[in-house]
């Protein structure tokens, strides 16, 4: 296992006082909190920071950790020296220890085996805990329904009474009409029960993957639709993609950029289905040939259009 430099994780020196450690921890906990931070490794960083603070805030644990010496480098392969912690005494913690690293376990996880708690506050509940996971789908999936294979990690009581992570693969049906942020509840697919207790439920939160030209707001779907200047100016009938199929859309003459054209009921399916909005964007044809340049010149002559009329020019 790798040595962890708890001082480095909190960004403090080995001489740092208790107040300084507390401040550093609080700042980093806010920064890397998985519900706040958008950093991809936020959860891992948050756990490391919590683990480092768990050791450094406790005078006894910190003294024992310091005794390991300054010779260890973060990431170095680590085995605790025999009897390294002789003469130190630790008390239980309020933290969920199943979250901590093997490194932490090797130092502070021993000698309390019998009294270990299964899972947070659930020690007296026989029913397994409900668990939570996210499932990422595409906008199109909400129109047709789909299925997803998920691999979940569950803490489960091992034979030695310590929680261990176990992998489980599930194949889940994603129903048609599902929306961003909704949950699918799978009864009895959550954490295992203790003793004869039933397993908990599994809640899957549905998240839509970003799409290059659709985006979803509730039941409504927005299409970012590029049109040529002549289509917007003269009107046109154009063929557009929807998450379900393709449709013909009539662009009225003199449509400006940003104009929203509503296709009622073509959003996400439901009893009252959502709408589809095509939002026009005027694409500029390049003047990349003599003919195109000539056409632009002729257009310039034919119109007395001033795009900066509102600027007093």
């Amino acid at each position: 296992m790798e040595f962890r430099d708890y001082y480095d994780i909190l960004g403090v020196t080995r001489e740092a006082g208790a107040d300084e450690i507390k401040r550093a921890y609080r700042k980093l906990a806010r920064k890397f909190h998985p519900d706040i931070s958008k950093e991809p490794d936020a959860e891992e960083r948050f756990k490391q920071v919590g683990e480092a603070y768990e050791v450094l805030k406790d005078a006894e644990k910190r003294a024992a950790y310091d005794q390991l010496g300054k010779n260890w480098q973060a990431g170095q392969d680590f085995r605790p020296p025999p009897d390294w912690d002789q003469g130190f005494e630790y008390h239980g913690t309020g933290f969920d220890e199943a979250q901590f690293s093997d490194f932490f376990e090797s130092l502070f996880g021993q000698g309390r085996g019998g009294g270990r708690r299964a899972h947070g506050q659930n020690e007296f509940h026989m029913r397994g805990a409900d668990s939570h996971a996210k499932v990422l789908i595409d906008v199109e999936d909400a129109f047709r329904g789909t299925s997803r294979t998920l691999t979940l990690k569950h803490p489960q009581m091992g034979e030695d009474g310590r929680p261990q992570l176990q992998e489980r693969t599930l194949n889940v049906r994603i129903p048609r009409g599902v929306r961003q942020g909704q949950h699918i509840r799978l009864a009895k697919q959550g954490g295992a029960g203790i003793g004869a207790g039933e397993p908990g439920d599994l809640y899957l939160e549905v998240d839509f993957a970003p799409h290059p030209f659709f985006h979803v707001e509730g039941k409504d779907v927005y299409l970012d639709l590029p049109v040529a200047p002549w289509e917007a100016a003269l009107g046109a009938k154009i063929n557009i993609p929807t998450p379900d199929n393709r449709l013909d859309l009539k662009i009225p003459a003199n449509s400006g950029a940003g104009k929203k054209l509503r296709l009622k009921g073509k959003g996400i399916p439901a009893k009252v289905p959502g709408d589809l909005y095509a939002v026009l964007r005027i694409a500029l044809p390049p003047a990349d040939s003599a003919a195109a340049k000539k056409a632009y010149r002729e257009f310039e002559q034919a119109s007395n259009f001033n795009p900066r009329a509102g600027m007093g020019g």
Partner: protein, 104 residues
């Protein structure tokens, strides 16, 4: 044939029609009824139905309760502080999503 092939599971979609009860919300978020009622009093979640025994919660409640609970537990903020942080987080999320559309 592979006998270990996992079968396809169907769950309940929690929407406006299939909302969850107070007891289910408590269990899913590992909170007591009193704690959930406090969050209702803070206006973090809005139940449908007149009184706790008949309350039903839509999907977004699950997410909001879990985030509020995590913030309270992990950062030591109180319920009004967590409610404020939650609202700001949701606003940032909305702004980020608009920014993404403008950038594409």
């Amino acid at each position: 044939m592979n006998s270990k092939k996992t079968k396809l599971l169907s769950g309940d979609l929690i929407g406006e029609d299939e909302a969850i009860t107070l007891a289910q919300l408590c269990r899913a978020c590992e909170l007591s009824e009193e704690e959930i009622i406090q969050l209702v009093d803070q206006g973090i979640i809005e139940p449908m139905g007149p009184e706790p025994a008949e309350w039903r919660f839509v999907s977004v409640s699950l997410r909001r309760v879990r985030i509020t609970r995590n913030l309270q537990r992990d950062l030591g903020v109180n319920a009004p502080g967590a409610a404020l942080a939650l609202e700001l987080l949701e606003e940032i999320e909305e702004l980020r999503s608009r920014l993404r559309q403008l950038e594409t």
